[in-house]
């Protein structure tokens, strides 16, 4: 989806490199962040169309951070997906519990991640 912007927050450099390469190949503009502290600035400057949150992050788990950013930064129009390699069933439940717009298992591979990102951005566009 050319021109659309995606932020990936993950403390693993390898995951960030692989994810951004796959998204960029599909035409997305990508910003990668390794810490929660960088997200406020990126929301303002980069204005993403979708955000991926790793779950096992330092300081605060991704689902805690997701609730925080959605409520405290009033993010209502940008889909935020949990992005993790934990058990898919657990990931789905945690995404549901924290009010995520969806989830992507890292075990599915980056190609599937790009598809899911595209589906969410397309459904947001339709809405």
């Amino acid at each position: 989806m050319p021109g659309k912007r995606v932020i990936v927050v993950d403390d693993s450099e390898v995951v960030l490199l692989m994810s951004s390469a796959a998204l960029q190949s599909a035409g997305y503009q990508v910003k990668t962040l390794m810490r929660w502290e960088e997200l406020d600035g990126a929301l303002k400057d980069f204005r993403p169309d979708l955000i991926l949150f790793d779950v096992n992050m330092p300081e605060m788990y991704g689902d805690f951070a997701l609730m925080f950013f959605k409520e405290e930064r009033n993010i209502t129009d940008i889909p935020i997906l949990l992005y993790s390699d934990i058990d898919v069933g657990e990931l789905e439940q945690r995404a549901k519990d924290c009010g995520a717009d969806g989830f992507v298992s890292k075990t599915w591979g980056v190609e599937r991640m790009v598809e899911v990102v595209g589906e969410h951005i397309a459904s947001k566009k339709e809405a």
């Binding site: 929660w36 502290e37 330092p58 300081e59 605060m60 788990y61 689902d63 609730m67 925080f68 405290e72």
Partner: protein, 259 residues
Amino acid sequence: MNDEKSQRRHARIEIILKVEYDSSEGFLADYAKNASHGGIFIATNRNFAVGDKLSFDISFPGLLEPIRCHGEVRWQRPPVKATEEKPAGIGVAFEFKSDEQKRQIEELVKKLDQEDSEDAGQEPPFRVLVAEDNPLVREMLRFGVRKFHRTGPAAGRELEVIEAENGREAWEQISGGVADLAIIDYYMPVMNGAQLIRKIRETETLQSLPVIVVSVGGEEARQDSYAAGADLFLDKPVLLGQLFSSLRRLLGLQQQAGG
């Protein structure tokens, strides 16, 4: 005494009391709130420093003889940080010069407690200390506390979150003995979490303050925190549900112990 108050080591009573200092400035418009057996909050714009020793008289309508008090300033809210709900002032820990003085304060608090109950007076705020040097993590913890408080055991009371970015700042804010719960990061500059907890446990009015430590420090931080007197230890990253269940467990235990 109701359930919320019974969580505290010393019930805190909010009432307006006149305060008159031993100074040449004569009668002042300062007033006191939140009296407990351990200390008192005095609303004032005067410039006091933490550690200042004070001698003052407190009185209120219906009390024939003012009560002579001595104490030490334990924390200060300067005018620049004051709001309509939270006036500028100082937290003063009582220093009793005699058993008689202690008895007078205990009687005063008891009397105020009775009047407070009869009058269904306003509940004191539920005060939670969040001590964490990372500003965003501090904000996240405050968010978690607010979410918990909406349905927590003290939901009927106004929530006041006291924030501090290091142990010393935290100590200055709570050493007057007015806090209901503390969430403390282990690794903080100036004074770390364990040092802060030791000071808390050495203070009579804070000995039973529920304390949760959060840290990335693993087993070493856990052991040091418990040795200092922490009630619970949570590893970072923190899960919101885990924070909630820990708060419920801790405050539930407090409620049972107090009631």
